[in-house]
Point group: C2
Chain length 406, copies 2
C-alpha cells in the first residue's frame, strides 16, 4: 500500500483543471427553446422596439402646446375628431386644438406629439376638457425607446431568462447561438457495486454515486452518458476510459485511493496524462485529474459524499467554464450565524454541510457533525455548505459565515 | 372608458389566489429522472445503509483490545492471517493478536471490532507493528450508520437534489411519487400581435409576452401549452379561455386594462367568477384573477414588463404551491447598497429592477430608472429586483436592501 505523496492545494488543483478546459462549440436553436441555455453570441437588434410611436396610456392624442395653459379649475377645450385603433395605421390626423381618442398601445396619429391620460379629461359630446397640461412626448412610448437597430440587447455568456427569451421574440430573432450541452461520461468502478434494486450479496453495496453524479451533471447543464460499472481491473478501466473520452468530459468514481485495487490513476496515466492525484480537501481528498485525448478526466472517490463534494469544488466550475459561464460553483450564497464551532486543519479546505433555520428573523447554520464521507444522509439533511479555507483552523461558534446553498 | 374601481393590496390579492389553488395529484417516476422534481411522499428506507460493517479506511481489521497498549515508540505486534476483499464475504476470522488486511469499503471480518489505518502500522514479513491504539468501532462504518430501516430519509415537498437522487439509489427506491408538472395554458390576446419574425404592418407589434411567460412557466416547473393568439373579441376570448381551463391553470396576457377593447375580465366573469381586477403594484397594476371550472385564470397586462412582474408576484407562488412547494417566489436573495434613492407611492408595491455590481468586496444595486412597463430592456439589463412595500415611500440612497435575484 502506498500513501498520497502530497496533497495539492484546492486552488492550484482548480487552476490545473481550468487550464485543460476548452469551451464547447456553439449550436443554433429556436429562441423559444433556449431558456436556461448559455448564449454564445452577442445579440444585436436589427429593428426598433416599439416599431412606431405609440400611446403608453388610455387617453387622447394631442398637440402638447394646446394644453400648456390647462389647469384643474380652468380646463382647455379640444375637439375630438376620431379615434386611433390598435393594430392599424391611424388615418386621422391631429390638427390644432384637436384630439384623437386612443388606447394604450395604439399608434400616435400624425400631428400629435403627446397623450393626455383619460383620468385628466372630461368629455362632453365631442368637446374634450383637458384638466392638466402635457409636455411633448408625454405618455408616448417612442419608436425605438426600448431597443434601437444596432443595439446589443443580450450578451455572450449570459444564461437566457424569461425576459431574455421575450426580448429575442420582440426583435424577431428566431434562431440563437448557445453553448452546446457538454456530454459527460459517467463511470462507476468497483466489483462490489450492484444496480439499485438488485439483491445485495455479502459485501456488496448499491451504486448510488453514479446516479447522484448524473443528477449533478444535469444540474450544471451537461448531458450525462452512463458507462459501466466496471470492475477494478486495469484493462477494463482503460477500455471504458477510452470510450468515455469521446464525450467532452469523463467522471469516474471509485478506485482513486491508494489501495491495491485503486487502479484508476494508473489507467489514466496509461492512456494520457495524470495531472494530479490527491487534493487537500475534506471530504474528497482522493481526487485525481488527467487528460486523455484532450478530454478532461475527473477521478472521484468512491464514497458518495466525497465524490459529490469534489464534483462541486472541481467539476462544477469546469462544466460551467465549458459553456462560457464564470468558472465558479455558481451556487446562491447567503450568510448565517454558526450555532457551533467548526474546527479544521491548517493547509486543508474543509467543506462542512450545514442545516439552516430561521429564528427571530435571523438565519442560523447548524454544522452537520458527521465524519465519514460515506454518510450520504449528512448531505441529504443539509441545505448548503460552509467552506473553511486552508489558512484558518475553523470558525468560532456565533461566527457569521457564507453559506453556499444547494 | 372606465377606471379601476379600486386596486387590491398585493398581499390580499395573493391570499385570494392561493385560496383557489389546489395541489396537483402526484405521479410515479423512476428515481433517476426525478432530479428537480418536488417529492410528493415521505421516503422511508426499508434497508440498512451500509448493509454491513465495513472499513472506512485502508488498513488492518483487529480486536481493539489487542492494541490498547500500542505506543509510537513501543508498537504491539500482530499476526497477519490474510486479507478481506471488497465485494465478498470475508472467509477469514480475526482471532486474538491477529490482523486482517483490508481496503476502504471492505466488510469487517468476524472477530474484528476496529480498523487500524495503514499509516499507523509497519509490516515486516507477516508481523504487523501497530503504533497507535484503536478503540472498538474505530474506522468502522457500521451497518445502518447512514440509514436504518424505518428511517425517513427524504420529505414530502422537497425538491430532489443530486444527493437525494443518490439516496434513493442507495436505499433501492426505484420509483418515487413526485408532483405532476402543472399544465399551464398561455394565451396572448390582441389583434395587433404578430408572431416573431413575421413582417409587421402599420401599428402591429411582435408578440413577446407569450414567449417570456412560457419560459417563466418552464422555470417554475410547469408545462406551457400555447393557445391563441386571439383577437380582443368576447366570443373568441371565451372560447379560448374555456379551452385553456382544461389545463391546471390559464395565463392570458393583454386586454386587462379598462379600455373598450379590454374584454378579458368580462370573458372570465361570463364563464366563471372574476375575483379581482386591479392590484396595487407597479408595474403590473392591470392584473385580474378569476376561476373557470375550478381552474385559476390569471389575466396579465399586455406589456411585457407588467406581465412578467405580475407573474413573479402572483403566478409564481401559485405554481409553486400547486406542486407542494412553499407559496413564495423562491428566488435567491442577496443584500446590496442602493446607489440611488428609490421613490414610491404609499399604498402601492413597487417592483424596481436593479443592476448589481461589486466594488471593493461590497455589493451595490443600481436601480434601473425606466418608467413604462413596455420597456423590456429594463428587465433584460436587470440582475434582480427590490420590492418597495406599500407602507413606505421608498428607500434612501445608500440603504441596504434585499434583492431577489432572477
Amino acid at each position: 500500500m502506498r500513501g498520497f505523496a502530497r496533497y495539492m492545494r484546492l486552488d492550484d488543483a482548480l487552476k490545473f483543471v481550468l487550464s485543460k478546459i476548452k469551451k464547447v462549440e456553439p449550436e443554433e436553436m429556436p429562441f423559444y427553446r433556449a431558456r436556461g441555455r448559455v448564449l454564445a453570441e452577442d445579440v444585436i437588434s436589427e429593428v426598433n422596439v416599439p416599431p412606431f410611436d405609440r400611446s403608453a396610456v388610455d387617453g387622447y392624442a394631442v398637440r402638447a402646446a394646446d394644453t400648456f395653459r390647462a389647469r384643474e379649475g380652468r380646463p382647455i377645450k379640444l375637439h375630438v375628431v376620431g379615434s386611433a385603433d390598435i393594430g392599424t395605421c391611424p388615418k386621422i390626423k391631429v390638427g390644432k386644438r384637436e384630439a384623437v381618442r386612443l388606447m394604450t398601445g395604439a399608434p400616435l396619429p400624425e400631428g400629435a406629439d403627446a397623450v393626455v391620460m383619460v383620468e385628466h379629461t372630461r368629455l362632453e359630446n365631442r368637446r374634450l376638457e383637458v384638466m392638466r397640461p402635457v409636455t411633448p412626448g408625454k405618455n408616448v412610448s417612442a419608436r425605438g425607446e426600448d431597443v434601437k437597430p444596432g443595439q446589443t440587447v443580450l450578451k455572450r455568456g449570459q444564461v437566457l431568462r424569461p425576459q431574455d427569451v421575450g426580448m429575442l421574440a420582440s426583435i424577431g430573432r428566431l434562431q440563437v447561438l448557445v453553448a452546446r450541452k457538454p456530454g459527460v461520461a459517467i463511470i462507476a468502478t468497483g466489483g462490489e457495486l450492484r444496480e439499485p434494486g438488485e439483491t445485495l450479496g455479502p459485501g456488496q453495496i448499491t451504486d448510488a454515486n453514479s446516479y447522484s453524479l448524473e443528477a449533478a451533471v444535469v444540474g450544471c447543464g451537461g448531458v450525462p452518458v452512463r458507462l459501466g460499472p466496471v470492475p477494478d481491473e486495469l484493462e477494463p478501466l482503460k477500455r471504458v476510459l477510452k470510450e468515455g473520452s469521446r464525450e467532452d468530459m469523463v467522471i469516474i468514481s471509485g478506485g482513486t485511493s491508494v489501495g491495491e485495487h485503486d487502479l484508476v490513476p494508473d489507467a489514466i496515466s496509461g492512456l494520457g496524462e495524470l495531472l494530479f492525484h490527491g487534493v487537500a480537501i475534506r471530504p474528497g481528498g482522493p481526487t485525481a485529474f488527467g487528460v486523455i485525448e484532450g478530454k478532461p478526466i475527473f477521478a472521484l472517490a468512491g464514497f458518495p459524499v466525497a465524490s459529490l463534494v469534489a464534483f462541486d469544488m472541481l467539476v462544477r466550475p469546469a462544466l460551467r467554464a465549458m459553456q462560457g459561464l464564470p468558472a465558479n460553483r455558481g451556487y446562491p450564497i447567503t450568510r448565517a450565524k454558526l450555532t457551533r464551532r467548526i474546527s479544521s486543519t491548517l493547509g486543508r479546505v474543509d467543506v462542512v454541510r450545514v442545516k439552516l433555520r430561521e429564528k427571530g428573523g435571523r438565519l442560523f447554520a447548524e454544522p452537520i457533525m458527521v465524519t465519514g464521507s460515506g454518510i450520504l444522509s449528512s448531505m441529504t439533511r443539509a441545505d448548503g455548505f460552509v467552506i473553511v479555507p486552508e489558512d484558518i483552523e475553523g470558525f468560532k461558534e456565533g461566527s457569521l459565515v457564507e453559506i453556499e446553498l444547494y
